[in-house]
């Protein structure tokens, strides 16, 4: 089981769509054709393989790429339409590039101040101090940018983007250029952004793990087109999208901490369809938590398993079946009292146990990752 990462109050589901984006462009070997309504709150992940057009879409939204005929409005303000194009520097956005892209001729503090100084003081909502604190970069301020580690650089870049008090924050795979331990260093800060900032965040990523951790909504892009879009949990549980997630297919469960059991070092998290035990985490009772259950960690039984070592066993109804990319393997979508769960089992077991839509089964969950 994974270590618990951070506490969080999961924000309410976003209501009305306030970012409208329509872009169409064609290069020799790549075309982008999207028409999107994006949520005005929370984190929307633009997810897809490399070459799916997610970074291009983000650059179009930032105005770094100028697409004739594109249309974009944010919070009712028109950023681009047939007659107008607001240049990047007049758009109230924050942007974090894949590489930190700090100004090497300026100190860390000067980098942070560069954008903030250019925002009229009446429009400043996030102070410099707040962004410094949010990213934990106080001790780095007087350093030269060359003296920072990769993770520190990216944290400074994120703080620099927040310090301009953006109305929309765009993150282009901010973790992609970092190794695994640096990623773990930054993820908690990104989760804090999610919790603390009351602005929409668009997060480009090709990592299912990052998406499951951070996003509230997912836009799945493939070869420049939107193939799926919607609420994170519903989208991750769609069996027609298995190709996009591959081996990382899995469901996300959200619940609240119901009990800490110190003697067995376990925490009980209650969700809509039941309760699940994970390793003891540090968050307070009642905290909202997000869990991830990989399809490969879920097995099925037709009778209630007795005397099993597996703690988390749920009664479930089979909703849907789909072949996995791996021959001989089948994904089974389950309904656990309203919460979707996905299992990956062998085709042979599927046949022998007569698992088909509508069937009643018991799902045994071998491992639960506490995302936050």
């Amino acid at each position: 089981m994974m270590e618990p990462v951070a506490a969080s109050a999961v924000r309410a589901e976003a209501g009305t769509a306030v970012i409208r984006a329509r872009f169409k462009l064609a290069f020799a070997n790549f075309a982008l054709d999207v028409d999107l309504n994006l949520a005005g709150r929370g984190v929307t992940a633009l997810f897809g393989h490399s070459g799916s057009g997610k970074t291009t879409l983000l650059r179009c939204i930032a105005g770094l790429e100028r697409v004739a005929g594109g249309e974009l409005s944010v919070n009712g303000a028109v950023w681009q339409n047939a007659n107008s194009f607001v240049p990047t520097h007049r758009r109230p956005l924050g942007y974090v590039f894949q590489e930190a892209s700090l100004f090497s001729h300026l100190s860390v503090r000067q980098n942070l101040e560069y954008g903030m100084k250019r925002v009229p003081s009446a429009l400043r909502r996030e102070g410099l101090e707040a962004s410094i604190e949010m990213l934990g970069i106080g001790p780095l301020l007087e350093r030269a940018t060359e003296a920072l580690s990769g993770g520190e650089r990216q944290r400074v870049a994120i703080a620099r983007a927040i310090a301009v008090s953006p109305q929309l924050l765009l993150l282009d795979e901010p973790l992609a250029s970092l190794d695994a331990s640096r990623k773990q260093e930054i993820l908690p800060y990104l989760q804090r952004l999610h919790d603390d900032l009351d602005i929409p965040i668009l997060y480009v990523s090709h990592s299912p793990d990052e998406v499951a951790r951070l996003a509230d909504h997912v836009v799945l892009l493939e070869r420049g087109r939107v193939v799926a879009q919607g609420d994170l949990r519903a989208t991750l549980a769609r069996l027609d999208l298995t190709a996009a997630f591959g081996d990382d297919m899995g469901a996300v469960i959200e619940g609240t901490i119901g009990e800490h059991d110190d003697s067995d070092h376990l925490t009980r998290i209650d969700f809509a369809g039941g309760s699940v035990y994970a390793s003891r985490c540090t968050e307070a009772l009642g905290s909202r938590m997000r869990l991830r259950v990989q399809a490969r960690d879920v097995s099925l039984a037709v009778q209630k398993p007795e005397r099993t070592s597996i703690l988390n066993v749920f009664e479930a109804r089979v909703v849907e079946l789909a072949d996995a990319a791996v021959p001989g393997q089948v994904f089974v979508k389950l309904d656990v009292g309203g919460t979707p769960l996905i299992a990956r089992i062998s085709g042979r077991s599927c046949d022998q146990l007569r698992i088909e839509p509508g069937a009643s089964v018991w799902a045994q969950v071998k491992s639960v990752a506490v995302l936050r």
Partner: protein, 225 residues
């Protein structure tokens, strides 16, 4: 010291000329280099080639065309005369104009390389941080291109000090007006005044060496490499 008043006059004139030309070239060359580093226009090739011409053209050829252009029948001559400046050939300002053309590639090319080395990313980052185009140029591009400006200034200055052919074609040999050090050395040798020629040549040699040495010492990029 074996320097005559005429020698000192030539040195002073040369320093004045090179300083003025370097300043003018930084002012003219920066926008040209910036444009060359950023444009996708088909004109990039032709303009880049014109700027680089003095690298391969014999100075006499360049000097000849400039002489004709700035002469009484030339286009530039017409303009300067109608503006009341008179004719440029055989004047200090004629030398300045000719030197600007002659030393142009030594300023434009290091600047262009420096601007190209910056890449788009820092400028895009600045744009997302509310900096407009001029703001980005002055607060990001110029500071990041600083090593290029050092190289360009040193090379532009040194190359102007070292010019000879163009000066002879345009300026001739008028003491304190157009007789620069390289011409003065030529005159000494013509007159078989070898000791004087030695003095001036030695000074030029040491100057050139120090200039090139300074490029390595003061240029942070080269020091790293």
């Amino acid at each position: 010291m074996g320097l005559t008043d005429a020698d000192l006059g030539a040195i002073w004139l040369t320093l004045r000329l090179a300083t003025l030309v370097t300043v003018l070239l930084l002012l003219i060359g920066t926008p040209i280099a910036w444009w060359l580093s950023r444009t996708r226009s088909w004109l990039k090739g032709p303009i880049g080639a014109v700027v680089a011409l003095p690298l391969v053209l014999p100075p006499t050829v360049l000097g000849f065309y400039l002489l004709v252009a700035m002469g009484p029948q030339g286009f530039v001559g017409h303009v300067t005369q109608s503006l009341g400046f008179g004719l440029l050939p055989f004047s200090f300002w004629g030398l300045v104009v000719a030197s600007v053309f002659y030393s142009m590639p030594f300023v434009v090319q290091p600047l262009q390389n420096a601007f190209e080395a910056i890449g788009e990313r820092p400028l895009e980052a600045a744009a997302t941080l509310r900096a407009g185009p001029w703001d980005r140029f002055f607060t990001v591009a110029l500071p990041l291109a600083k090593p290029g400006f050092i190289t360009a200034s040193v090379l532009g200055f040194a190359h102007t000090v070292g010019e000879f052919g163009v000066v002879l074609m345009i300026g001739g040999n008028i003491p304190d007006k157009t007789r620069v050090v390289s011409v003065q050395i030529y005159d000494h040798v013509e007159a078989l005044e070898y000791p004087q020629a030695h003095w001036l040549s030695g000074i030029m040699l040491i100057f050139s060496f120090l200039v090139l040495l300074s490029l390595y010492v003061f240029n942070p990029n080269r020091r790293k490499a």
